[in-house]
């Protein structure tokens, strides 16, 4: 009796949860799924049914150049973000509640201001004779053009995307049982060795999650490269925007969008498989060292 009642209440809870999700689901369906399908469909239907949009996409050298550049920039930004975020997240996982809250606050701060505002702030910071330029020249790195260059775009994108790397990393690191490190010490591993052989492998799921999120967000970036970069470093988002906004070529833009979607999906699948492999045997990370 009691068990049935519990199961019933469980089911009704699930029903009410579904009902609660309905508005969000409807929004996603109408404002995301439908446009994506409509845009994709157009890319196969115009100017005539078939794959002509895709053929011309791959035949066009400019699109290929920009696509490759986008992937390279995304990889670069992911790498820089990881290098910056890893020690930061590590520090967060080590510190007490007060310091941790402060560090978390600092990471989340950018989330509370608009992307546009931050990008315009970067324009001010990166301008010639601006703060960053002065700082760089004081350490002997003067003369690096920041506005309208890949360096500037990478700096700004890294700042914007940093939280997306720090949070998954922290989330993983804080769950790592630190007694494992003590165990490694007790068996004679140096602090560094214990970190590399025990901690780093255990943090890999966080690394994978952070890298995927940052990479996927990077390939779709548009505002930052548009405002801070120059057309000579334009990314695929800008090409899509030109096709839609200026040329009204919805089908061509749809084809590029589908391509990006495919790249993202493949990446997520690969990362998912990789993470499952790592999670399946969490102690196998350092096995190839010797």
């Amino acid at each position: 009796m009691a068990a049935t009642a519990r199961r019933l209440s469980g089911r009704s809870r699930r029903t009410s949860a579904l009902l609660l999700m309905l508005p969000a689901l409807a929004v996603v369906l109408v404002f995301f799924v439908y446009p994506v399908i409509a845009l994709s469909a157009r890319s196969f239907l115009e100017p005539e049914p078939g794959v002509s949009q895709y053929v011309s996409l791959f035949a066009d050298g400019t699109t290929r150049t920009i696509l490759v550049r986008t992937l390279v920039v995304a990889a670069l930004v992911t790498a820089v973000t990881l290098v910056l975020a890893y020690p930061y997240a590590y520090l967060m996982s080590l510190s007490g509640p007060g310091v941790r809250a402060l560090l978390l606050f600092l990471v989340l701060l950018p989330f509370w201001s608009s992307l546009m505002a931050r990008t315009f702030a970067w324009i001010v910071l990166l301008q010639p004779r601006g703060i960053v330029a002065t700082l760089l020249s004081s350490i002997g790195l003067g003369g690096v053009p920041l506005l309208g260059s890949q360096v500037g775009v990478t700096i700004a994108m890294t700042q914007v995307l940093l939280p997306f790397m720090v949070l998954p990393l922290f989330n993983t690191m804080v769950r790592i049982d630190r007694r494992l490190l003590s165990a490694a010490h007790s068996m004679g591993a140096s602090k560094f060795r214990a970190l590399v052989r025990v901690f780093v492998p255990l943090s890999m799921p966080g690394v994978a999650a952070g890298c995927v999120i940052v990479f996927v967000l990077s390939i779709g970036f548009w505002v930052t490269p548009r405002l801070i970069g120059s057309p000579q470093q334009s990314l695929i988002g800008q090409l899509i925007e030109t096709k839609v906004g200026t040329l009204l070529d919805f089908a061509g833009a749809g084809a590029i969008s589908v391509l990006l979607l495919v790249i993202t999906a493949v990446l997520l699948l690969v990362a998912g498989a990789g993470a499952r492999l790592l999670l399946g045997s969490p102690d196998s990370g350092g096995r190839n060292d010797e």
């Binding site: 109408v30 050298g61 400019t62 150049t65 405002l227 839609v244």
Partner: protein, 351 residues
Amino acid sequence: MKEHQVRKTVFAASAVAALLAGCSTTEPSDSSSGAGRLTFVTYGSAFQDAQESSMIKPFEKESGIKVTVESPVDPAKLKVMVESGDPTWDVYLAGQQEVPAYCGKYFEKLDLSNIDKNEFAPGTVEECGVPIDTYSYVIAYNRNKYGNNPPTSIKDFFDTTNFPGVRAMDNNPGEGNLELALIADGVDRKSLYPLDYDRAFKVLDRVKNGAIFWSSGAEQVQIMEQQRADMILVWSGRGYEAVKNGAPYAPVWQDNAYHWASLAIVKGSPNKAAAQKFIDYVVSKEPQTRWAESIAYGAANLTATPKLDEARSDWDSSRAEHRDLSWQIDNAWWGKNQDEVMKRWIAWTAG
């Protein structure tokens, strides 16, 4: 004028937004309210404020027609609106190349019986558009850099030997980058079309290294105030704005590209009669005079008599001396070839 880029910057993901506009036209259409109202879509900011005070408010008072103003214009949204058959915009502020390109497709043919073509610059009044304002795409040079030996024509803009320094121009070739390169190379203004792409890009190559490509009006002002470019092709109104803010630049009117924006009626508009009345009014002498006095854009109606101070007059695209040195883009050619030009431009800048 053509603040396309600003709009684009603010309205990211326009593909999705545009498609949404197509599937969510549940707003009540204006058809029931007849000739008593219309919706005018224009660019925002100071530009819109000036239009409201100099043209729209007086029109409402005079005609009794209620005008709803929206911004910004967005050709992608226009396309979706017309395709869905239920436009919520009636009058559209169109870039000059959009008029012939969209005529009959996204724009209605106009009734020009109340428009005297002689009051406007030749070629600016078209089947689907009447000009409402003008500006020029003009060279501005840094006086601190070239004070003793200032550039005098577009030839000097592309001459980095005698005029070394950083160049800046629009990231959209629609203002005339390719045409200006050809003029600098000695091509006669009358035989610019069809554009000789290879020749134009060869000239543009001379200044490409280190060049800045701006995408918005605000960016032009910022580049001039920070003196990031020694010579910059700018919209005359923005050049004036930067100079007024203290940027040490001066215009070179030789070879300036005379531009305008037009009013068009959105295809399928339920308020065509009111829209036509609105257009007839705002391009007439008085509103045009008030317009030119309230903002650094020129009056499209050449019978307008705005009183301008000297600094403003220096940057006025409608001034007779400046118009004498100007040339105009072939809109009809552009309407047909825009895809090809853009493709080649993107390949040159980004490829």
